[in-house]
Amino acid sequence: MEREGRIINLMEPGHTGCAGCGQAIAARLVIRAAGSNVIVANATGCLEVYTTTYPRSAWEVPWIHSLFENPAAVASGIEACLKAMGRYDGIKVIAQAGDGGTADIGIGCLSGMFERRHDILYVCYDNEGYMNTGYQRSSLTPFGARTTTSPSGALSWGNVTRKKNMPLIAVAHGVPYVATATPAEPRDLMRKVQKALQIEGPKYLHILVPCVPGWGYESEETLELARLAVETGLFPVFEIEKGVITKIRKPKERKPVEAYLRPQKRFAHLFQPGNEHLIVEMQQIADENLAIESGPAVLYGTGGVAKELENEEEEIPPKAGSGG
């Protein structure tokens, strides 16, 4: 956009993010799509640190950072107070955080924002760990990944849990628009931001953002890895509107999970002899993700649990499997 005769990016270059940072690419696309009539509440994390190191700021929009776990609540207060003061007209409120700020420490505030139906777009930049503090494990770290607090070792093969299903948690709150995206498909990402901002009420956008130092790959591979995450099925890209999956990105050419895992140091131990079963399990996760079909979102991401339930108890009525 243009301001005072000068072309500006709403998130300006010159910040101190890593070369190839997936989050920086995604955050710039989000704010570009949202436009200048916004107020952004940002969690503590990489994005906050590298865009606002005093006395500089990369933001050409009103922007506030309060704490790690509260951007959803701060944004709630912004939206509610603007409405109460009669100043809300046309202003879009965005809350944004990383995966730890969203799925772990900030999930209470996020749940409050969802259930109170605030008119806010919440964006989770998921780089699958606490990268700002040195690559520790979060509840969105994928199965099998090595982090500094879920290391691989003689008795360990890294993170033992699957990613917490944040999109489905949003759906369970009745969030009318839930979508996932990656910076590898910028038009798709920006379309989703713009679509979300047309919808009144809470919106949840979950973006996979590869992290060069945390994942352990070369900086020019960011977008390629984001693409591979989708093409292998490890990160499903979809839209859920009013609880119904309306759009799924089905890869034209389905790739084995090894294509995504091999370039990343955090998965290197999976290729050691004796760990073959872990790659098999990751392939199963990808297969389950790719099996998602349009329709009610309740069975997505249940990790096979719902299917097992179906087999064991045939009496389950069609809508009773809510949330797995």
Binding site: S36, E60, P62, W63, H65, S66, N70, C81
Partner: protein
Amino acid sequence: MISMLEGSKAVAEAVRLCRPNLVCAYPITPQTHIVEELSRMVADGRLHAGYVLAESEFGAASIVLGGSAVGGRTYTATSSQGLLLMTEVMFNIAGLRLPVVMTCANRAVSAPINIWNDQQDAVSIRDSGWIQLFVEDNQEAIDTHIQAFKIAEQSMIPVMVCMDGYVLTHTLEPVEVPEQEKVDNFLPPYNPSYRLDPNDPFTMGSMVGPDAYMETRYNMHNDMMDARLLIERVARDYEAEFGRWHGGLVETYDMEGADLVLVSMGSLLGTMRDATDELRREGLKVGLLKIRCFRPFPINAVHDAIKDIEVVGVIEKDISLGLEGTLCSEMRSAFCGEESPDISSFVMGLGGRDITVDEIKQVARDLANNPSCRVEFRGLNEELIRGDEH
């Protein structure tokens, strides 16, 4: 007009008169009646404000932070565990220079869990950067809340009004609720010099490194110290407008010719006034010092009030475990490098234990007999104390 009001309802009336844009809270005993009454006012159309039902005190503090950042006048209330859960946000509100006003209905802190009154909650977060004003009765609670918004918005420092849980919040007293027009004259609409606005983009809450963090804190400290004058001035202006004076930073009572002085904060002062009246009649000259403003701590006012007194007893409903009552420590700091009165710490009334006129009188008599500096718990049940570990 005088009305008979419960303390909580009196506070809600005062907050309503201040025309907040946003009220947000999470229920906790004994704060609940305040926020119930405010929500009823919103439901009845008597208060035109946003009312957000938070998912926790942490969320409530963050929500009023957001509202304040876009230029709204915001209010919350809490107590005890709720205050502690808010603590991280409270430091942040102060650091972001947002003039939020809060009521703390003072209550004991767990464990063991206890819902009754003491002042451990507020005293425990004295370093958060909030102005902390303690009130003695429900009329002072009304008047201090109206002053609080003015102090906060003129200093850009958040203000916590502390009132004893149950003793004030759940007690009916005759109070005068000011007229709206007079409050409007006293408290103009909030018009901050900075706020989040798409027409004038502004980054709030930057990462500040070793090159500037310390100056930020220094500025906050200076402004907090300067707020002492402001608090005093706002109390005077209030007196001129409404005809009521409850003290500025401190207030004294019966200091004339006093041999010893008792000090406290909050509702206990009422009981202490009765105790000193009786003691005077019995021949012991006791004065009272009421600490109305706990942060910023009024070291000059405290110094001037008791510099000629030899014996001072601080009766307080909190304990800094491993040292003494916190107010007592603060009192001593007023005499750095000078000959100080003997200042003793009397920890009483924790977790809602009653403090009687007789107990206060006994403290004074004991101090008259033995003025030496000491730390004592009073009103203990000896049967419940482990005998072998003192």
